[in-house]
Subunit: 444 residues, 2 copies
């Protein structure tokens, strides 16, 4: 397992509902679908991510003895029910969009088909896992589109919402096209390339900035990126230029520099000039400090000579749109389609499929239809789990990254730009509308 | 341990800097302080939280054999350095604001005094832990102030950023005054009271709403809250009224109902009327659905008869201000005060203390001073760890909740309101200004 799961990482009502299903022996097949009800105004598309951790969770789901004892001790549950939890396993089927697939509002990215209690309990954690990685992959994809091929690195662990978020943000942004992350554990657990520079504290701990540069360079000769803005960015660049020959004699080449404050574009231009005049043309410039896709686009449009960017806080917390309206809804039970009709939150019933039409390499429109009415265009949901076991080995990150590249290339041009585009067309199939109306008529 | 820590949950540059310190034998005492550079425009004050998990991390910090082997395998580190990590422990001192203390921009909430490598490595995870819980406790405190004593429950697990965030949001909001959470694992790990209702899926899985109500009530007779808005809120309320006598005969009392969609205030008024007319005056009404402090204030101001609220997404992701500008900066090394002077990110040097003046039970102003110049008013940072061991047992949640109540009561009235208030006065002591100027003069 790559991250720790617990069957109790769920909402209390899942367990009280399970107790009801247990008492009433409601164990027939339920179909739940996970989808975003709408996109945030700042997003023209979303990128599915998190399936790997979701399947890992489903495969390993069980109640430990300690957890069952604790549940019994709360006095909220019958002993009969708690005992039955010892055998609880997820033994259902899952259909999903492959990670890295572009999707839009109301399109299921995951469908669970399982006995009602199994399909119910997993709601909270499935949303939790798929929501966050989708959120971050979608934000990261915007950065990738803005950066036009420049190197992007995730720097966000410290202001991610907890440790798991830091770890999963590294993964989601890497899938979306980032070159790597600064989060060491993500390197170990997920094999993501690691990048790092140095912090201001190392400079401050030395009496002279030059000594700090030299000591740091000597300690990792193969891979040196120096931070310039602790006191005075341009002065530090001159220090570096005068230090470089001495380092070269010791076999140490400076690979890059980082600028983290002030007018980044202006500093980058000055630093580039000082480096070039000092014979350090090969030294790259990395920018950081409250960056996001908008700032990156601005910096590059202004011609600032950056070779890459560290993106932290605004990526890992997706600050301009920190949540998605992602839900997991019952669409069928015991063979009957079901529909929630709450005001503003009604759902499309039945087992659905997303069909995507492509023309000349560009996505031109999707259709949300019923699974049993197949359509000529490409169905996006594929079977990934049966009887609680995966149907495929985990996809390598390289395959998902390749899919993302292809998907972003196939997006309509307007959606690739960061400006608000007209929404991508998603139509609802006539048979799905018909089913919905039938259900509504029946219930009146 | 309450949550899983790993020494590799850090940024790569911490390790490359440690390798530099190792090579240069830079092992003298460093003093780092953790503080918010500024408050988000939507926040008049912050509430310190997360110290318990931060101390837990420091006490248990070590590199496992597997982690060291992996570090060695990356080829980035000398074997000598990796071997030395086997003995790495945090053996420093920590001063901190007790959890639940109100604080403002530039005021340290944690100070680490330790050999440089120890104080350096922990930066990423310390910020990660203290940033998130402080963020959520501060948001939750605003909800508590808005709710004027009504019951508040954390419903946010599913859209929290990962599992750890869900767990820690339950804790932080409980410390801030919430009555409890729906997150079961937070009940088990932290002893937080659990609350739960039912989901729409339970209603949908039944052919008749009345059967769903009856089955659910029968399965947990002591503690029944029914969800009304799956199809038609008022019709469901009538169903409940007609069902109540039959349940009463079976010894089952309905405790509450929940409304989750539509015009909440209007539905609550109608539901209250139907319940009262039906003899169910004791049944409470809980509201939910994209709530935050603003919506709660509005609903209560309109006289909507809610007895409590479930607050989810907007709490656990603090959506209006999803991050704080929280940093951890070197202020002293080897007995010398240190200062970062980066544009817009300069720091106040030296070991600092926060002094707070209170008049007639109200906070009237703080002073950011140097520790060695004591002041007559209350110093807020207290010693909590020495030589890597805690000085006190973990504080019980009840004590922290009591502190929060007292602190919120002592806030200036303008800051307690949700409207933007003039900033709370935090002055900088003359000796601290003097030290800063001295340092700047010395370096020119």
């Amino acid at each position: 397992m790559t991250i720790a799961h617990s069957a109790l990482l769920t909402d209390l009502y899942q367990l009280t509902m399970l107790q009801t299903y247990h008492a009433e022996r409601m164990n027939e097949t339920a179909v739940f679908e996970l989808f975003a009800r709408r996109l945030p105004p700042q997003r023209g598309f979303l990128l599915a991510a998190g399936l790997e951790q979701a399947l890992d969770y489903l495969e390993n789901l069980r109640f430990t003895t300690e957890e069952r004892d604790w549940l019994a001790s709360t006095g909220r549950f019958s002993l009969d029910f708690v005992e039955a939890l010892a055998d609880f396993r997820f033994a259902g089927a899952v259909h999903a969009l492959p990670e890295g697939t572009v999707f839009f509002a109301n399109e299921p990215i995951l469908r669970v088909t399982a006995p009602l209690p199994q399909a119910q309990l997993v709601e909270s954690r499935l949303i939790n896992l798929l929501h966050y990685q989708t959120l971050i992959a979608s934000k990261a994809a915007r950065c990738v589109l803005a950066a036009s091929g420049k190197l992007l690195v995730d720097f966000g662990l410290r202001r991610a919402h907890g440790g798991e978020a830091g770890l999963l943000a590294a993964r989601a942004s890497y899938l979306a096209g980032f070159a790597g992350t600064a989060t060491v554990l993500a390197g170990m657990r997920f094999g993501i390339p690691l990048f790092g520079t140095m912090a201001h504290s190392l400079i401050q701990a030395h009496d002279r900035e030059e000594d700090a540069f030299e000591h740091f360079a000597a300690a990792q000769p193969g891979n040196v990126t120096l931070l310039l803005d602790t006191y005075d960015t341009e002065a530090a660049t001159h220090t570096l230029v005068s230090l470089a020959p001495r380092l070269r004699e010791r076999g140490i080449a400076i690979r890059g520099v980082r600028i983290d404050s002030g007018d980044l574009a202006e500093h980058a231009r000055r630093v580039r000039r000082i480096l070039d005049d000092g014979g350090l043309r090969q030294v790259t410039i990395l920018g950081s400090g409250d960056l996001d896709e908008g700032r990156i686009r601005e910096l590059l449009a202004s011609g600032a000579p950056f070779d890459g960017f560290g993106v932290g806080t605004r990526l890992d917390a997706s600050t301009d749109a920190p949540t998605l309206d992602m839900v997991y809804k019952l669409q069928e039970y015991a063979g009957q389609p079901r529909r929630k009709r709450s005001e503003g939150k009604a759902t499309w019933p039945g087992r659905k499929q997303v069909y995507r039409r492509t023309a000349e390499g560009t996505f031109v429109g999707d259709c949300l239809g019923l699974e049993q009415y197949s359509q000529p265009s490409e169905p996006l949901l594929i079977p990934v789990m049966e009887q609680g076991r995966r149907l495929q080995a985990p996809e390598p990150a390289s395959a998902i990254r390749e899919r993302v590249r292809a998907q972003l290339a196939a997006l309509p041009t307007a959606l690739r730009a960061s400006e608000t585009a007209p929404p991508y067309p998603v139509e609802v199939a006539p048979e799905l509308r018909e089913l919905t109306e039938q259900l509504d008529r029946k219930s009146h």
